[in-house]
């Protein structure tokens, strides 16, 4: 299910703010999340849904991975949100506060029903699950594998720390375990892991330290709370020359395998599977996004 589209940065644009939605398309984030949940006041839920539907259906930015975050699974808005969100045809739907695999599976099933009713290609829309509580974290692997649509889990640190009775700090020791547990679940499930936001938009050095940790732990991307964080976060997901060279070798081996009509392809004695190929493509896409010229003598 996973795509090779970059997911280094995700930016939320409130469905209650048309200007915000228009402007969000012009920043350098890889993933643009049109939000129907927390940023939309209760009185604006209907108009936001309509606005987000029309924006994604008719004015979606061509070069971004587009998501819609719907309201909570048990909220009164979820049915109408899903009807509109699926028919808007985003790349993915982001589900907040998932705690059990059954919840994720039920939402995925509902997406299938709407796709079918609308005559859409079934299974094309991906799903991200936000993990925002200790229960969600305990069940992370089961959630990640609850349905093939699920391609990423994203850590929501504010609600998670509230559920743990922890105090949120800039250094983030209170979410260190959650980060590792989420990553472990994602890696085992073969889905991508998206890290939590760094909330202080004026602390650039703090953001850099936090994002370095994000990158070093192994996350695939990070949610940004403000556009000015995007370029900084993106810069941390620039692959090294060694990683780029390895990715090129993986893809070269895959191509050779296709030419030779081999069922299984190996590199350095190890078999190359689909996730490895996708990872190689992502590495090259990250390099390209960072302005690294691929090919020639250097790489």
């Amino acid at each position: 299910m996973q795509t090779a589209k970059l997911k280094r940065t995700s930016l939320y644009a409130s469905g209650a703010n048309a200007i915000n939605m228009i402007q969000a398309a012009f920043y350098n984030e890889d993933c643009l999340v049109y939000d129907l949940e927390d940023s939309v006041p209760t009185s604006e839920k209907d108009s936001a849904r309509l606005l987000v539907y029309n924006t994604v259906r008719y004015h979606r930015p061509a070069d971004k991975y587009v998501l819609i975050r719907v309201n909570g699974i048990y909220s009164e808005y979820i049915d109408e949100d899903l009807e509109a969100a699926v028919r808007a045809r985003p790349d993915a739907i982001r589900i907040p506060k998932v705690e059990y695999p059954e919840e994720a599976a039920r939402i995925c099933q509902r997406i299938t029903e709407i796709e079918t009713a609308a005559g859409m290609e079934v299974g094309k829309i991906e799903v991200w699950c936000n993990i925002e509580s200790y229960l969600g974290l305990i069940n992370a692997y089961e959630i990640a594998t609850a349905d093939p649509r699920i391609v990423a889990l994203a850590l929501g640190a504010e609600d998670y720390t509230a559920s743990m009775k922890s105090h949120r700090t800039k250094a983030g020791a209170e979410i260190f375990y959650a980060r590792n547990a989420l990553l472990t679940a994602c890696r085992h499930a073969g889905v991508e892991a998206i890290d939590a936001v760094f909330s202080d938009i004026n602390d650039i050095e703090g953001l850099k330290e936090d994002t370095a940790l994000t990158r070093n732990l192994g996350f695939d991307g990070k949610t940004c709370v403000h556009p000015r964080q995007i370029d900084i976060v993106n810069s941390f997901f620039t692959p090294s020359p060694k990683e780029i060279k390895y990715a090129l070798r993986v893809l070269e081996a895959v191509e050779q395998g296709k030419l030779q009509k081999k069922g299984a392809v190996t590199l350095d004695g190890s078999m190359i599977d689909k996730p490895m190929e996708l990872r190689a493509r992502t590495t090259l896409a990250q390099a390209e996004a960072a302005g690294i010229k691929i090919g020639g003598d250097q790489l």
Binding site: I19, I22, Q23, F26, Y27, H59, P227, R228, D231
Partner: protein, 519 residues
């Protein structure tokens, strides 16, 4: 007739003979000697200090139909223009030509009221922003259209005699009783008096107005006693808060920050960005943010700019203090930090506006400028810029030095969001053409960067940006993006009445503004 940017113009507008803009290589040579109305002293020695404004006005012999001038360095905090016009009105003097360097939005008292009561019947300035501008485009009853000139063209018009000043009223935050004065010290410091230098040396009569008489001699001397006929002390020359009390803050608008960052990246990618480079960034929100990013690039590159030009801000002064720019040439000071900085540092220099931008001088500082960053209200697919009128034809801003900077700089960069609210800023044809597209090199927006293939340095800029991995798009792409969000705007409908003549820096007419047709 049609000028070189495709604007239809009459051959004459009243008594004004139209010289159409003929293109970038066709600047009209100025061959006549420089004019000045300045006369030898007529005053009794040692008696320049007048009891009040009326006494000074009467001593100057101001009569019906004459021309008066002011500077706009007190911005919206100006309390001089209102006091002088009130005194003139009370003296019963009528039908004056009002020729400040610019009209900012002064509301109390209203300039429009002085037009309506007949005190003023003609206006010439670089801009007439605010209530006056809106009234003019709506057909305010003046005896001739307003003439709008960019900063560099005003001194030229004065030197050719096209704008001949009878009495120049010069506000100063400190003056001695002989008229040596400055804007750099005192409670209402406005900084550079660069706009008034030409008035001081050219007008028949010069009156310095201050609320701060200092012992002789006033130091520094921005305008010398040699040119000053009278000095008047008033209670208050301005509102310090509106003059610019503190340093302008860095914008928090992420769109503006994005445009500013991209602009600084374009500059840093250029081969001209090297030790000794020069720049003018200005004072808008995007400009101030751009200056900060430019400072970062300069520091990272380990280089120093030779000079920054034009209107100064606190963050340009900060660049200077960090050693990132050697000299500041200030024709205007946009905030209190910039206003006071000149008094303490010999490398922060107050310059004549004519030295800054007058293309007919033997040289002007813009001739050496590498990078000029400009704001705009609209830009069209021919890169023509509108910096005067808004989407409904209303007067939104002044020409300032924009046309001068675009023409003078090696690389002129227009910073503009593609839409403002529901209004597109990138359009098929600007409503008012103020700066010809041929002088615009780069447009930076939140939706992409466009290069002008007709600019003299296009090949160099293109190569440098490609080398740096900075992507560009055709300007038509920006137009399409803007229109996809806003729809195509209906053209503003006008009557045949010409309300404003827009001169280019060479004194030719680049456009006119016709009266807006209202329902």
């Amino acid at each position: 007739m049609i000028n070189a940017v495709g604007r239809e113009l009459p051959e004459k507008i009243g008594d004004y003979i139209v010289k159409p803009y003929a293109g970038p290589q066709e600047a009209i040579e100025a061959e006549q000697p420089v004019c000045s109305r300045r006369k030898p002293s007529k005053r009794a020695a040692g008696n320049k200090l007048m009891p009040d404004l009326k006494a000074a006005i009467e001593a100057c012999g101001l009569k019906d139909g004459m021309t008066i001038s002011f500077h706009h360095s007190f911005r919206e905090g100006d309390k001089i223009i209102g006091q002088v016009l009130t005194a003139i009105k009370e003296l019963g003097i009528k039908n004056l030509r009002f020729a400040p360097s610019a009209v900012v939005n002064i509301k109390n008292p209203s300039i429009v009221d002085f037009v309506k009561d007949g005190t003023i019947d003609r206006i010439q300035a670089s801009g007439i922003r605010g209530e006056l501008g809106d009234a003019v485009v709506d057909g305010l009853d003046l005896s001739e259209p307003v003439i709008l000139r960019p900063h560099g063209a005003r001194p030229h018009a004065i030197e050719t005699g096209a704008l001949s000043i009878d009495v120049a009223f010069i506000g100063a935050s400190a003056s001695d009783d002989f008229g040596n004065c400055t804007g750099q010290t005192g409670p209402n410091a406005c900084g550079s008096l660069g706009y008034s230098f030409i008035d001081a040396v050219s007008a028949e009569n010069v009156v310095v107005i201050t609320d701060n008489i200092v012992p002789y001699p006033c130091v520094p001397i921005s305008i010398s006693q040699m040119y000053v006929d009278y000095v008047v002390k008033v209670d208050e020359i301005g509102d310090p808060v509106k003059i610019g009390a503190g340093a302008a803050r860095m914008t928090k608008n992420p769109r503006d920050i994005l445009i500013a960052q991209r602009t600084a990246d374009v500059i840093a990618a250029s081969r001209l960005f090297k030790d000794g480079y020069s720049f003018q960034t200005g004072a808008g929100a995007i400009s101030i943010a751009c200056t900060n990013f430019l400072a970062e690039h300069t520091e990272k590159a380990g280089i120093q700019a030779s000079y920054a030009l034009g209107g100064m801000t606190a963050n340009i002064v900060e660049m200077h203090n960090k050693g990132l720019v050697r000299t500041l040439l200030c024709s205007q000071s946009f905030d209190a930090v910039a206003a006071k900085a000149m008094a303490d540092d010999p490398n922060i220099v107050e310059i004549d506006n004519s030295m800054y931008a007058n293309m007919f001088n033997k040289s002007c500082s813009l001739d050496k400028l590498n990078f000029g960053v400009l704001g705009a209200l609209e830009i069209d697919v021919d890169f023509n810029i509108n910096i005067l009128t808004g989407s409904s034809g209303e007067m939104m801003s002044g020409l300032g030095g924009g046309p001068d900077v675009a023409d003078g700089a090696d690389i002129s960069i227009v910073t503009i969001p593609i839409i403002r609210g529901r209004i597109p800023s990138v359009v098929e044809k600007v409503f008012t053409c103020c700066t010809p597209g041929s002088s615009v090199a780069v447009v930076v927006t939140e939706a992409g960067i466009a290069l002008n293939p007709k600019h003299k340095n296009y090949e160099m800029i293109k190569e440098d940006l490609e080398q740096a991995g900075i992507k560009t798009v055709p300007i038509e792409h920006l137009l399409k993006t803007a229109y996809s969000l806003t729809g195509v705007p209906k053209p503003v409908e006008t009557t045949d009445k010409i309300t404003c003549i827009v001169e280019y820096r060479d004194g030719t007419v680049i456009d006119v503004i016709r009266q807006i047709k209202r329902d």
